[in-house]
């Protein structure tokens, strides 16, 4: 905002000499650019206007007089791009365009619609035309746009130079020359390519062509999500290369997950799973509560799936097979399956007999709805388990109903074959395409030896990393938003395009372009894709394909039943038992960086891990039991804080980590397994299996950009060439004589709700008895009605007419009715807590839409993170000792952002009118009026206001304390900013605006259209046409705030409260609807729908009430303490207020 004025650069000033601006001016001469001016973009010059006025447009002005054109121009790719249906035909300056494309990911391409402001991609959205995802995206897709503007990406290609001292430096080279050089290698037969996994049809085609040319093609993916499908088809002795599990959870009533985080980020297809499965948990009346699905989760880690689960069993991964076998045995016997097989499986599952009382009722429940049940196994589990699970689903009759098995046929050779061939001197020249194998496989490949055996090594990658350092040449890769490709989704239901929104910012090429030139084709990537598309069955116009963004293919699923009575005969019964000195070690892809590919992405680093709430780091997760043990054995470790008086008195729960000045002080330990080991900070994670250590891959990179430097620890040593991610027999050791510590940036110090009625939960049976239980919780259930005499009026009436406050003086209506400018809408939001899995996509979506700055680890540790959406995570447990950290926990998520209270406490304390209400019920925040007293933030009971303590948008995060002397941010990062949202300067407050920019745009559009329509109909000069309010109302569902648009389970509803038909109004009239801290009479416009759990009363861990409800009850009515599960309390709270 004001930033701009401070550094406004006059048009005639010389360009600031940023390398890439120069290169742009050069690029401005390129044909495509010129073409584009001629054909595509007549009023290009006027772009300047639109841009220069936004904070981030300074740079344009800085480049030559027409930077605006120069920039926007060469941002545009050579070929015409067909806009998605939503967008106007031609590009109008200041009006964003939307283009359909897709994001390559390790689990298929994610269909996207990308918002582009005059050639600059700014915001990623899901493509609703792809039904399984229904327009939702995951956190990675949201963050991927930031990588495009990553200052540390490879801006050109490089040749390695090594001087006498042996320290290497990079000499920049023109990319095409390098490609030419590499394509020379293809001539002789000893050339190999090691590529990352891709679902690209184009690449498959090209790789086969390369194979024909004698080039050997290998693929490697550290977290290989295709592994289970290979194991399964091997186990089932099928002739297809793989048998892929495609769950169809919409129909599921009973689900059991065997260490399978199918709702979390580490398994494939989670967007579809979340959408369909959470769809089965939608509740609008006690009626459907009965139909609600039920989830059993048997897991070692505390996953998001476990958070959703109605019953959760903590089980160490090494014990899972036994459990699976016993489970299979049970199911098959109940379903009257093969006796001998059952017997055999029983033997194998002996070790799991201790869980008998859990398994029996669970199986009974699964089999009660056989064809509506499903069992899923985690991708890290061994072959036998996948086969066993197949048998279970088969005998449940789930196959073809709730689960489909898709035969896949893409065989490829892996890294071990590559190594063998190199050892055997069959390969001399190697090219890495994407990925980062040298880093990930360091533990089982002796790269130094390999290097000696190789003549020439080239690397095609997005940024200089470990693999580049291993190679002589680095060829710069384009971002997927700069590339053409033709690819598939995980379920192979759809074929999707990857089309560029922007010509390569720098001297880079896409993988497709690289391979094309390697096969010696003269086609451009675009033409190649176009030609491939034309060959596809059912393909019509290429332009339509691009416009729609998906082309459905009909994959054929595996259907024939398979009998494997003898399969388990050679499976041996493993007897290994776990213990403190024999821990199981589970490796998962890191939430922040997946397998390291997002290592330089600030949004991902700063988006808190939903379970641990850690940012900028990963930790070695251990169970509370193990934690207590360690603490007891080594008092000096300081892993768990000494119980305070308040803990002992059961006033508040003990923290699960030591916090020194808000910084988590975590002891760094050595975890030894066999001859390998990892070293990292410990973190006590409630809900973890007692003897399991969970560790994540991708952090602790040795060579990264500035952002990822020093983030986390490296756990890649756990990997082996078979892609196993489980190890047994691990031990925790001290690294040095005294304990060393690492400071972790944890954004939520306290894990307990302390019995406060913040998240309100009930079980199905209680809910069906007492629909409005949520209204009988919290202090407001004892207070006089919030709406005074209007308590029973309609929502629409309340939202417009009920004056705020109740004093005798004249109050403004909500909608300013007595003013000249009455509000036409009354905006509000309803969030269904039952639907939230904690995927955190909303956090990053909001960050991307609203130009929310990254503050860096140090500032997060100081409690200054800027996220407008805060995803609160609470654990609750059965009754526990005051100072005990529970092991078996229920997890509840709640996304908190500005509630737009009708009687907002923040407003009345602002001395300068910087935050006031508008006539449509928005709590407006005028940044340019704010002086920064921070009083509003203090007085906000929800603590949703964020203060710009520094010039986050201007200074580098490590230079903040140098003030004016600190280095400025690389301007490229500001190119991705949303021009419709002010870039805030230091010293001002900010917070969620309900995406007011989207609201205003929609309102303006509606008005303009109404006016034009009316005029055309009248045909006169327009002074006589009539336009009434209804014409000017925005139709429900037109406006989607970023958080609600991204949500995979449609948990966030936004709309007009004055319209009783709007979705949000309907939800707010649901009896489950309640306001957080309602008793303060802040009248928040964002309200929550209480969470419903669906436990099975036959299960051993069944509790009549959710733990959080019990905690609330015990705190609120100490006299009935301990009746949490009792019948008596039932009656107590049913007769509502007054009785207490």
């Amino acid at each position: 905002m004001i930033r701009e004025n401070s550094e406004q650069i006059p048009e005639d000033s010389p360009e600031p000499g940023m390398k890439y601006w120069k290169s742009l001016d050069a690029l401005a001469e390129t044909p495509g650019f010129q073409d584009w001016i001629q054909d595509e973009f007549p009023q290009g010059a006027s772009m300047l206007q639109g841009f220069e006025r936004r904070g981030f447009m300074k740079i344009m002005a800085a480049s030559f007089g027409l930077a605006g054109l120069g920039m926007t121009g060469c941002r545009r790719p050579e070929q015409t791009i067909m806009p998605y249906g939503k967008s106007p035909e031609e590009l109008i300056p200041g009006v964003p365009n939307y283009y359909a494309t897709s994001m390559p990911s390790p689990h298929g391409n994610i269909p996207l619609v990308v918002e582009s402001h005059s050639g600059r991609p700014t915001k990623i959205e899901g493509n609703p035309s792809y039904l399984p995802f229904g327009g939702s995206t995951d956190v990675y897709a949201q963050a991927s746009v930031l990588d495009l503007y990553d200052p540390d990406r490879a801006r050109e290609s490089f040749r390695k130079k090594e001087n006498q001292e042996g320290d290497l430096s990079w000499a920049s080279v023109n990319t095409n020359t390098l490609i030419a050089e590499v394509s020379e290698w293809t001539k002789d037969g000893n050339f190999a390519i090691l590529a990352d996994r891709s679902f690209s049809l184009a690449r498959t085609k090209l790789s086969s062509e390369l194979k024909d040319k004698g080039v050997q093609f290998f693929e490697y993916e550290a977290i290989d999500l295709a592994r289970p499908e290979k194991l399964l088809s091997k186990g089932l002795r099928l002739d297809s290369d793989g048998l892929r599990v495609i769950p169809n959870l919409g129909k599921v009533k009973r689900a059991l997950s065997l260490d399978c985080d199918f709702l979390g980020s580490r398994e494939p297809f989670t967007l579809a799973n979340t959408r369909s499965f959470m769809g089965g948990r939608k509740v609008t009346s006690p009626g459907d509560a009965k139909k609600m699905n039920r989830l059993y989760s048997v897991e070692s880690d505390m996953t998001l799936t476990g958070g959703v689960a109605d019953h959760r069993l903590r089980l160490d991964p090494s014990q899972t097979p036994a459990f699976a076998f016993l489970l299979a045995a049970e199911v098959i016997s109940v379903r009257k399956g093969d006796q001998t097989l059952t017997k055999r499986l029983k033997e194998l599952g002996k070790a799991a007999e201790i869980h008998r009382e859990w398994i029996t009722p669970c199986v009974a429940d699964l089999c009660s709805k056989p064809s509506q049940s499903i069992v899923l196994a985690g991708s890290h589990l061994p072959e036998e388990v996948h086969v066993a699970v197949f048998l279970i689903n088969q005998s449940l009759g789930a196959i073809g109903k709730t689960i489909n098995y898709l035969p896949t046929n893409d065989s490829y050779e892996g890294i071990s074959e590559l190594i063998e061939k190199i050892e055997a001197n069959e390969i001399e020249n190697l090219l890495f395409v994407g990925g980062n194998p040298v880093f990930l496989t360091d533990s089982f490949v002796d790269w130094d030896r390999i290097r000696k055996k190789l003549k020439k090594v080239a690397r095609f990658g997005y940024s200089l990393d470990e693999t580049s350092e291993f190679s002589d040449l680095h060829i710069a890769q384009s971002h997927y938003l700069e590339s053409w490709d033709l690819s598939r989704t995980w379920d192979q239901e759809s074929i999707v395009p990857v089309q560029p929104l922007i010509a390569p910012l720098f001297d880079t090429v896409s993988d497709l372009e690289l391979l094309l030139s390697l096969v010696g084709s003269s086609l451009t990537a675009h033409d190649f894709v176009k030609s491939m598309h034309s060959e596809l069955e059912g393909s019509k116009l290429f332009d339509d394909f691009l416009r729609l963004g998906v082309l459905s293919a009909n994959p054929s699923f595996h259907s024939s039943p398979i009998a494997l009575n003898d399969y388990f005969d050679k499976t041996k019964i493993q007897e290994n038992s776990v213990g403190a000195d024999n821990l199981d070690l589970l490796l998962i892809p890191d939430f922040h960086v997946w397998d390291g590919r997002f290592i330089n992405n600030g949004w991902m680093h700063e988006c808190p891990n939903p379970m641990t709430k850690l940012t900028w780091d990963n930790a070695i997760l251990i169970s509370p039991l193990l934690g207590k043990k360690l603490q007891k054995e080594n008092p000096g470790i300081g892993l768990i804080p000494e119980p305070t008086m308040l803990n002992k008195q059961n006033q508040i729960a003990p923290d699960n980590a030591n916090f020194a000045d808000g910084r988590q002080k975590a002891p760094v330990v050595l975890v030894k397994f066999g001859n390998r080991s990892i070293e990292g900070p410990l973190y006590v994670q409630p809900g973890l299996a007692d003897y399991t250590i969970v560790s994540s891959l991708g952090m602790g990179r040795r060579k990264t950009g500035r952002v990822g430097e020093g983030a986390g620890y490296d756990a890649s040593t756990i990997l082996d060439q078979n892609g196993n991610r489980m190890v047994s027999g691990a031990k925790i050791l001290k690294i040095a004589k005294n304990w060393t510590y690492k400071k972790l940036a944890n954004v939520q110090e306290h894990w307990s709700m302390e019995g406060r009625a913040i998240i309100r939960e009930a079980n199905v049976d209680y809910y069906s008895k007492k629909e409005d239980f949520a209204q009988h919780m919290g202090a407001e259930s004892h207070s006089p009605p919030m709406w005074g005499k209007d308590e029973n009026k309609s929502l629409a009436h309340k939202s417009q007419k009920t004056p705020r406050g109740n004093s005798s003086y004249e109050h403004p209506d909500h909608n300013y009715e007595n003013s000249d400018t009455p509000g036409r809408h009354q905006w509000g939001m309803a969030i269904d807590l039952t639907q939230c899995t904690g995927c955190s996509a909303c956090v990053v979506a909001c960050q991307s839409e609203n130009n929310i700055p990254i503050v860096g680890k140090d500032q997060v540790m100081r409690g200054r993170e800027m996220h407008w959406v805060r995803l609160d995570r609470y654990f609750s447990s059965a009754e526990r000792e005051g100072d005990e950290i529970p092991s078996d926990v229920q997890v509840s998520f709640q996304s908190i952002s500005c509630m737009h209270c009708e009687t907002a406490p923040c407003e009345s304390v602002c001395p300068v009118n910087a935050t006031v209400h508008d006539e449509e019920g928005l709590n407006a925040m005028a940044y340019n009026r704010c002086v920064g007293t921070r009083y509003c933030a203090n007085n906000c009971p929800y603590k949703v206001r964020r203060f710009n303590f520094f010039d986050w948008n201007k200074r580098q995060t490590d230079e903040l304390y140098k003030g004016p002397l600190g280095k400025k941010n690389d301007e490229i990062s500001s190119m991705g900013k949303n021009p419709d949202v002010t870039v805030r300067m230091r010293g001002v407050m900010e917070k969620c605006t309900y995406c007011v920019q989207r609201i205003q745009e929609a309102k303006i559009q509606v008005k303009v259209n109404a006016q034009r329509a009316a005029r055309h109909s009248s045909g006169k000069d327009g002074s006589d046409i009539e336009i009434d309010n209804s014409d000017l109302k925005v139709p429900d569902g037109t406006i989607l705030p970023a958080c609600s648009q991204v949500c995979p389970s449609d948990g966030v509803a936004f709309g007009d409260l004055s319209d009783p038909e709007s979705r949000v109004s309907k939800l707010k009239n649901d009896p489950r609807n309640y306001s957080v801290l309602g008793y303060l009479n802040t009248r928040p416009r964002t309200t929550y729908l209480a969470k419903i759990r669906n436990p099975n009363d036959k299960m051993p861990d069944f509790a009549k009430k959710p733990h959080s409800y019990r905690e609330y009850h015990d705190k609120a009515y100490p006299t009935h303490h301990g009746e949490g599960h009792g019948e008596k309390k039932e009656t107590k709270s049913t007769n509502g207020k007054g009785s207490h």
Binding site: T644, L646, Q651, D661, G662, Q748, E749, H750, S752, E754, G755, R756, I758, A779, Q859, R862, G863, R864, R870, D872, R873, Y874, Q894, S908, V909, C910, P911, V912, N913, V916, R929, C930, V931, G932, T933, R934, Y935, A937, N938, N939, P941, Y942, K943, R946, F947, N948, F949, F950, L960, Y961, K962, G963, P964, R986, G987, V988, M989, L1080, K1115, A1116
Partner: protein
């Protein structure tokens, strides 16, 4: 009084009959000093050659004051982030210091105004110095609310000044009220202080030997000439200003307490704050008065003017206000328990036993326990001890504000947003600097201005009685 009984005039016949009880009040000026002595004593401080100790103190104070200067420059150039504030605790030391300094100020006004209205003659010898203290303390206080904002250069938006944005301040905000309360308080204190000084400045002017003194004091004494007509209007004005300052001084800390009381946070949102803050302010103010005057007394040998009686009275006021504050503390807990609001209840349990328990107990021991020692005459008469306790009072009162501000903010409604605050080095230096700033001003006051109102002191001396001591 002792001197009066000596006069040889016959008492009127009435008194013969009535036989008044023997009047044994300790005299306010000991050793039957003459007017001349008083004038000499007080003017001498200003007129004599600057003592070396003054220079030393002055230089040291100046250095300390520069901390504030540097701190603020860094703050403004870099951002509020250089302080320790974070998201749950958006107000850190800055506001604590503000309330602390404002509180200090109150004793001055109280002594000169309230005691004046209550006809407490003993106030005369201490009111000038304590008024000076008030003015300087308020100046120190003003620094913090001004500079704690994110964009100081827009500070003027808090004043109702017409502008091309056509937008105005928001008068429902306690911070806006502060703007008016504090600026009024500063202005009125200065007026009151200066007006009281005019006759004394005239005296110094009349005694001045050097040209520049004649001119400077001449200008500032406005040509005062001790005429009865002057005295008449002067006394009336003085009385009225006293009458105005009394409600003012009460309102100022009331309004400052609104900063907390008007907010809705547990531990802040209480009606007890205004009286409790005012009591606290007077408490800390008298602590500061003692801290300043006891050294002055011995340095300038003012034992005849600042007598044990004065010290006793101030100690007693400290006991009284200290106990009031203690009562407020306990009452807060009672209300929290009685109100049965779980958030409120926790806020106070957390205050005493939570993450900031230490600050709470420092506060209790300094504010509630230590003043109780003043019940014993022995302690009141032991000047060094009184001085030490007075310092404890100051420390305690600073911690009171710290406790109120931070314990509440660090753990409020939603446990998910609980946090912890600790000051940064910049916080600490900026605050330390204000003591230097205060000392600089006070030293200048000692050097160039009459540290006691001569006329008023003379008025309470027996010689002033036009009826030669007839009662």
């Amino acid at each position: 009084m002792s001197s009066a009984t000596k006069t040889d005039i016959e008492p009127p016949a009435v008194l013969k009959k009535v036989k008044p009880a023997p009047w044994s009040e300790a005299p306010l000026v000991l050793n039957k000093r003459s007017f001349g002595w008083v004038t000499e004593k007080i003017c001498n401080v200003v007129e004599r050659k600057t003592p070396t100790w003054w220079w030393w103190c002055f230089i040291i104070a100046l250095c300390v004051a520069s901390f504030t200067g540097m701190g603020l420059v860094y703050l403004v150039s870099t951002g509020v982030g250089v302080w320790g504030n974070n998201n749950p605790v958006n107000w850190g030391w800055a506001i604590v210091n503000f309330v602390f300094w404002i509180g200090i100020g109150h004793a001055g006004t109280l002594i000169s105004a309230v005691l004046c209205l209550l006809k407490q003659k003993w106030r005369t010898s201490i009111n000038r110095a304590s008024e000076a203290m008030t003015v300087f303390a308020v100046l120190c206080a003003g620094i913090f609310p001004l500079f704690h904002v994110g964009r100081v250069w827009f500070g003027w938006w808090l004043f109702p000044i017409p502008n091309s944005n056509a937008i105005w301040p928001q008068f429902r905000s306690p911070l806006e009220w502060d703007v008016f309360a504090v600026s009024t308080y500063a202005t009125v204190s200065i007026l009151f202080w200066y007006m009281g000084m005019i006759p004394d400045l005239a005296v110094i002017r009349d005694r001045a030997k050097v040209k520049w003194r004649k001119i400077v004091y001449g200008i500032f004494s406005m040509g005062w000439r001790h005429a009865n007509n002057h005295w008449r209007n002067f006394e009336m004005a003085y009385l009225i200003l006293a009458g105005l300052s009394t409600p003012l001084v009460l309102s100022v800390h009331t309004i400052v307490s609104f900063d907390f009381a008007v907010a809705n946070l547990p531990g802040w949102h209480t009606t007890i704050f205004p009286p409790y803050f005012v009591a606290g302010a007077i408490f800390s103010g008298f602590g500061m008065v003692l801290t300043l005057l006891l050294p002055l007394r011995s340095v300038f040998g003012l034992h005849d003017l600042i007598t044990q009686k004065h010290i006793d009275n101030m100690c007693k006021i400290i006991i009284a206000t200290g106990s009031l504050v203690g009562y407020a503390y306990s009452m807060e807990f009672f209300i929290a328990w009685y109100g049965a609001n779980s958030y409120e209840g926790f806020a106070f349990i957390n205050r005493a036993f939570g993450n900031y328990w230490w600050s709470y107990w420092i506060m209790i021991s300094c504010n509630v326990i230590s003043p109780q020692l003043f019940w014993f005459r022995k302690i009141r008469e032991n000047t060094p001890l009184v001085w030490i306790i007075s310092i404890f009072v100051n420390i305690g009162m600073w911690f009171e504000r710290f406790v109120i501000a931070n314990t509440t903010l660090s753990r409020d409604f939603l446990p998910s947003s609980w946090g912890y605050y600790s000051p940064s080095i910049v916080d600490i230096f900026t605050f330390a600097g204000t003591f230097g700033f205060f000392s600089v001003l006070f030293l200048l006051f000692l050097r160039f201005l009459p540290l006691m109102p001569m006329a008023e002191v003379k008025m309470v001396m027996p010689q002033a009685d036009p009826h030669g001591g007839k009662h």
